[in-house]
């Protein structure tokens, strides 16, 4: 026997490791709407399998917790059981010897806090608050509830125009979303259980690229009979246009009031053209405006003395406020008013009106770690900047920008400076910015799920800069909208779940001005909700229904298969212009990717209930 031996990985270990990866995917793909107690009980089973068996709270306590939760699941428990679960978990957390025990208990405690209502419902009624419905994950997680399996099947069948029409039933912006959607639909894709989520946005891009022009109505179709009702929409962004599109279909007369020169909101004034080409945006908007009687007024501001909201309300039967979140937050550091310091919003707005500044030879520092920061950095590269630095307070891992955006920025030559907090702007005698001084940070404790930075004992660092772009989030304008209920802390508009503004008859609101800066698709979803509820408020029930028959699934083996990734134009080519970076899939890739779809509309719970809503 040697003193030390080499131990290669055994087959058993290899299998165990592979199963752990499977479990990880399984958890990633966990369907929405599960019973939280059932989850707690099954996780406890995993945790207690990890116990070493030495200390009492972990060895015995975790098993007991599982049994107690099972009592509640099976209707044998009451509020005393909930109390005992809580005290036992507290004790395990407080007294287990190692993290295997106390972290398991901690998860139970978190669940008890987060799912309190469900624990009480189980103890008093024997079941969860909500029960018995497992939604199709992609459809459920899309704020507009787009029929994803339906349009994927249509794309597979080569019926691209039908795919576009089906998407428009719930989301009027298939082209826009094909390029810029954050695709929450992919987060819980059941395909995760086999390999990886479908590239849903990529498939949508294939559909819109191959569908040709798809008019709102086919031969013989038209808007519902005119109702004689007039609706004002304040704000011509994705939310306002979505509401206008559906309200137009329903036969109402719609007027959009837009503050800027052109419609589009953040689609135009927030997203650079290399991600969303202007001609595609314009074409999509122009098509949508043909859904019915829709008039557009640009460069009109609602609110204040010139055009008070009350006046608008009196002139229309209902109002939808979707004014977005367009003000910028400032750094509040010395020198911020120097020439060359600008907000992300102002830069992107300028670009949106096709007024491109020249950054040739300039050194640019972008402050922030979100998608807007990446947009500014990548735009700066295209505007000719000599060097672009992205300065962020936390680490790369904490950046809120999509991974692909960060990777693209890096590929285009932007340097990422992690863990630096702006201290001051160094201003030259000419009043122009010379540099941004930053304080190095160290990553520290986790608060609300995010590691927080704190100042490191380190000398400040000078980042030479002619242009400093502040992209640390947008705020909401302090609107001059009398009587509109606002959340004073967040500065957002308060609404009921119908999107109606409390105590304001017939005034609805949605999108970024309600949620704070969020995604395009959530703004679109809000517009759809507004259309339905305004229609109902006006005493109608016009269903939105697009008759498209969906191909039945073809049975086939579903071998594990990688997810198709979209190609991008080469870096040295794309940084010279503002043309679209992404390229569409090939036909071959489209077929492979569409066939990865598990058709949750037709398999699993979807075939019983909730697989397809043909109208809303």
């Amino acid at each position: 026997m040697s003193r030390l031996v080499v131990r290669p990985e055994t087959e058993i270990q290899a299998t165990a490791n592979s199963l752990h990866f499977d479990l990880e995917r399984r958890v990633t793909g966990a369907p929405p709407g599960l019973c939280p107690l059932d989850l707690a009980s099954s996780y406890l089973k995993v945790y207690s399998s990890q116990t070493c068996g030495k200390c009492v709270p972990c060895r015995v306590g975790l098993k007991q917790l599982e049994k107690l939760i099972d009592d509640l699941i099976e209707g044998r428990g009451d509020m005393k059981t909930v109390d005992l679960i809580e005290r036992t978990a507290e004790t395990i957390y407080a007294s287990a010897d190692c993290a295997i025990g106390y972290e398991a208990a901690n998860m139970v405690l978190k669940g008890l806090k987060g799912f309190r209502e469900d624990y009480i419902a189980h103890a008093t009624k024997g079941h969860c608050v909500a029960e018995g419905f497992q939604a199709v994950p992609c459809v459920h997680l899309c704020p507009a509830h787009v029929d994803v399996p339906g349009y994927i099947a249509l794309i597979n069948a080569g019926r691209y125009a039908d795919a576009v029409r089906l998407i428009r039933k719930d989301n009027p912006f298939p082209s826009v979303c094909a390029m810029v959607c954050e695709h929450p639909c992919e987060n819980k894709c059941r395909r995760n259980l086999i390999d990886d989520a479908l590239n849903i946005r990529g498939l949508k891009l294939y559909a819109v690229k191959n569908s040709g022009h798809v008019p709102v109505y086919r031969e013989g179709e038209h808007a519902a009979e005119a109702t004689g009702k007039k609706i004002a929409i304040v704000g011509g962004g994705p939310s306002g246009i979505s509401a206008a599109y559906y309200l137009g279909m329903m036969g109402h007369s719609v007027e959009i009031f837009e503050q800027r020169k052109k419609l589009g909101g953040m689609l135009r004034y927030g997203i650079p053209a290399y991600r969303l080409p202007r001609e595609i945006l314009d074409e999509e908007i122009n098509t949508l405006l043909t859904s019915g009687d829709i008039k557009v007024h640009t460069e009109v501001s609602i609110g204040g003395d010139s055009y008070p909201l009350s006046k608008l309300r009196s002139e229309f039967d209902a109002v939808y406020i979707a004014i977005g979140a367009h003000t910028d937050k400032s750094l509040k550091i010395p020198g911020e008013d120097a020439e060359g310091v600008m907000s992300a919003v102002s830069l992107l707005r300028r670009i949106g009106d096709d007024n491109y500044p020249d950054f040739k030879g300039k050194k640019v520092v972008v402050v922030g770690g979100g998608n807007v920061a990446m947009d500014c950095a990548r735009s700066s590269v295209r505007l000719g900047a000599e060097r672009v630095i992205i300065a962020y307070r936390r680490r790369l891992e904490e950046m809120t920008a999509l991974d692909e955006e960060i990777r693209a920025a890096e590929a285009e030559g932007c340097e990422l400076f992690e863990l630096v907090a702006p201290l001051k702007v160094e201003v030259g005698d000419d009043g122009k910015a010379k540099a941004l001084w930053v304080q190095n940070q160290m990553i520290s404790f986790i608060k609300d799920g995010r590691p927080t930075p704190k100042a490191a004992s380190h000398e400040p660092v000078r980042l030479e800069a002619d242009i400093i772009i502040v992209a640390i989030g947008q705020g909401i304008e302090s609107y001059n909208l009398e009587n509109v209920s606002m959340n004073p802390r967040r500065g957002t508009i308060n609404i009921l779940d119908s999107e109606q503004i409390p105590d304001m008859d017939g005034v609805f609101s949605g999108g970024d001005c309600v949620t704070g800066p969020a995604t395009v698709i959530s703004a679109i979803g809000a517009g759809k909700i507004a259309a339905a509820n305004i229609d109902e408020y006006l005493g109608f029930n016009h269903p939105i229904h697009i008759p498209v028959d969906i191909p039945a699934p073809v049975p086939h083996n579903r071998p594990a298969c990688g997810r198709v990734k979209l190609r991008e134009r080469s870096v040295d080519e794309r940084i010279k212009d503002f043309s679209l970076v992404e390229e569409s899939m090939t036909a071959e890739e489209m077929i492979q990717e569409t066939e990865r779809c598990l058709r949750c509309d037709k398999f699993g719970f979807g075939t019983f209930r909730g697989g397809r809503e043909n109208k809303w």
Binding site: E74, E131, G132, A552, P555, F603, T607, F608
Partner: protein
Amino acid sequence: MVNIKINGTDLQVPENTTILEAARLNNINIPHLCYLKGLNEIGACRVCVAEIVGLDRLVASCNTIALEGMEIRTNSPKVRQARKINVELLLSQHSARCPECARSGNCELQRISNDLGILEFPYHEDIKGIEWNQDFPLIRNDKKCIKCMRCIQVCEKVQQMNVWDVAKSGSQTVVDCRGGKDITEINCTICGQCITHCPVGALTERDDTQKVRDALADPTKIVIASVAPAVRTSWGEQLGLTHEEATSERLVSALREVGFHYVFDTDFSADLTIMEEGSEFLKRLTDGELKEYPMFTSCCPGWVRFVKMEYPELVGNLSSAKSPQQMFGAIIKTWYAQILGVKAEDIYHVSFMPCTAKKYECDVECMNSSGARDVDAVLTVRELDRLIRSEGINVKDLAESGFDMPLGVASGAGHIFGTTGGVMEAALRTAYNLVTGKNPDPDAFKNVRGYKGWKEAEFEINGTKLRIAVAHGLGNIRKLCEAIKNKEVQYDFVECMACPTGCAGGGGQPIFEGEELGADRGRLLLALDKKSNLRFSHENPSIIQCYREFLGKPLGEKSHHLLHTDQVRWELWK
């Protein structure tokens, strides 16, 4: 057409045919439990699995479309194993106490597990149950439920009442009343369609046979049976009789064998209902009461419950005439008691019905007008068959015998009460006579026959145009009521039957897996009417005698007291 191969045989089937239907078209049987054509094709039980050559995993044949070139195996080793194990898994959660189950011998789970040769049981038993109100006419035994979801689908898609729903989640998933409510608190019409579509014994009627047996054993009681129209079409189905053998006369003999002292025909009181309801209709029409809403028939208690719960504003437009069952009870316990020279309480009246809601109707407190309970017990056709079987009667060899008199005479108009449109047709025949003094051609109103969910017809009697509608199945009825309420349609007289095809397809009828027999049974009733030499209710000699000797005239004081009711006062549950 597409070309496929099943178990080695080349076949051609129409496009868009499921594998299960493709097999069935070619006489290949694929066992299935949850499948209900057009209603429940959800692939839940996984008993109908089949193998497609080239695929690793099996498919549910009930919802997989057969495609060109598919080679399908319905009995490969993989299929056999999966089918057997899935049935065994179902059995692990099914209280398989078959000897004490109403569906024993007519249970899909039992049949399939027997067919598969399941003799040993390898799994842990895991049987839970939800408590149930055993007094309610509709009984659910959760321990037998196999979660096939058929009851949910029938109630939601056909009857559109949404009584049932899935409750809890994950492996705890069960079927229960929607929202966890009690069955007495939810809008259940007690139509019984969930019972007739349940593949096992999870849903049944409340069994009242012991009550009846106790009465038969009581020497102080005169026990009288009355037999509803649609019962005669179906009573022999599960006793192994052909329709030719299963005559009402043979049924009368069987009931005498069971021990009933008198056996009467509910079709007599159907004729009586026509006299009252027909007269009421003409009165309300001429009084101008039907300008806003039509008069509705009221003989279906499922429909009456529906209208009370869903359209209370229309209750006042129900005919005040009691149903034939309840009129019969009132007459037996008054006029017939007089004839026998006994007191009402000496008589025990058992009503045989194709219906579960009738069990509710006979318990409605304000219904009793004879001084005793007008109807003491209601048995469904399934209970009737159990009663006969338990006596060991060889029905096939029984000689036929006639109904007792005078309540055993009925017209063809009374017979057709048991099929959709029948009440309307019978009423119009008599209304025509009441208005003109002449009889119409008995088939003059045949336009209200047929199985379309919502039928319309117009007739002219003496220059007055009558606008008629007939609907069956609560989903169709809801559409009709909505249209009436929204003034999209206008009628004078409307017949509604809660069950699809009417009582012939009633929730108390015998159950045959995958078959809807209502239309066939309805045609038998129409044939009985056709060959009857008495086709008008008002010509029924017993009816004439009853009015002459006892009631006086339709809508008279005695009729008002005994034969009419106010549905507003009906409690939905005690």
